[in-house]
Symmetry: C7
Subunit: 95 residues, 7 copies
């Protein structure tokens, strides 16, 4: 199953936060801060302007991105969890 | 009876979520998460821009789509339940 | 008395919902769900764009329409009840 | 004293609702529903668009109109009560 | 001291409401309704449109105007009280 | 240290309100009404329109201005207190 | 790891506030007011206008800026703390 986001939406896969602290202690799951790093899996065609033209997106497939902790809607596809968010919820691209 | 949605609205039929878990146990109805997968049954002509032109829609009849759990208005037509929602409530097209 | 709606407003007459269930039992009035089906009686000239042009309406007199349960303002004309609503409150045309 | 409404505002005089029910009983004043019928007394020049042009009004002096019960601001001029409302608060013209 | 309002703002001086009722009784100050009649003392240059042009004002110095009771900000200049309000808070010009 | 406000922002220095009432009594600091008179110290380049052009500001350095009591954000620069506010929070220029 | 902000966002590093008062007393950490001075580390490409053009940013890398105390989202990159904020949250450039 493949997802094609609509408008200015972006499909993002969260990247796991590290499970081990510097001292090597494993943090139990509930104590971990939810990650806000992700990878762009699919990108929508862009918003349609009042003139009927698509406005070009600023992120592309494969980009590593930072986004707000509560951005987007969670979607489960074939057992995997994704987020669908608007491009504007993405704060920055990690290079 | 046939429905023709107005503006940028879309008529969607919810697709049933699976009633059996991987272990083969039947989940009682109240425990099931409401599905957010659907099929586009009819598509409006698009919003009218300030210049009087229709802005082209991004989904079409037959598309399988993902949408927000509480998106749209429920409509009962000839005993069948549908949802009328704005295209912007659709998150992604399933390919 | 004839009403000419202003702007993008539409005058709608509610169509009665059926008073008998499939088993032939008459439902008392308070138990009936308010109908959301109606007939368009009159249509406004359309919104005026920033350029002073009227934006064409998508519904016309005689259309059967579906609308949100709480859409519009109730108006009593010569003893008959109507609803005046914005075209955008109409979800779909019934064909 | 004459009033010239500004922008897209309209000066409206409420038309009295009938004081007698069909059975000929006089309804005490507090039980009467406030009328929503009125006559247009004066019309503003229209909103000014971003281009500095006036956008033509859709109602004119003498029109009988229907408006929302709580629309507009009450104004007392020489002992008479009027309402100043935006044209958009007028639902329909009575012909 | 002279005030030059900015943008689409208007400097208004409240006109006193009459202190005597028809029967000739003087109403104590606290019982009087606050006046909503005023005189335009100074007018701003108008809003600047997106194109950098000033949008012409509809009122001018000397106009008697009606405005909403709670419109504007009170300003005391050399002991006199004025109101600075947006032109859109003015309901009508009194002619 | 010099501050260059961004967009349509203005750097304003509050002008002291007079500390002595007409009868010559000194008012303790807590009883004084906060001044709303100020002097413009620096002016931003203006908002950028959708076309990428700067929209010219209406106030300039040295202008005495009146502004809303709670307008702007307080900033301390080298021990002095300033306010950074949007030009739209300025009500009028004092001439 | 390098961050490239999106749209009209700016990556800012807070500048430490001074830890010693004029009398030479060290202020404990909890009593210090959070600094609102920062240095611009990276700048987004600017918002995309309705015409698909980027609107030029007003700040650039290396600018010292003042911003609202609660502006932006905190981001931790390689142990360092940054803020990602919209350019409009920046009040002024310090020269």
């Amino acid at each position: 199953m493949k997802l094609k986001p609509l408008h200015d939406r972006v499909l993002v896969k969260r990247l796991e936060s590290e499970e081990v602290t510097k001292g090597g202690i494993i943090i139990p799951d509930s104590a971990k801060e939810k990650p806000i790093k992700g990878e762009v899996i699919a990108v929508g065609p862009g918003k349609t302007s009042d003139k009927g033209e698509k406005i070009k997106m600023n992120v592309e497939k494969g980009n590593k991105v930072l986004f707000n902790k509560y951005a987007g809607t969670e979607i489960k596809v074939d057992g995997d969890e994704f987020l669908v968010m608007r491009e504007d919820d993405i704060l920055a691209i990690i290079e």
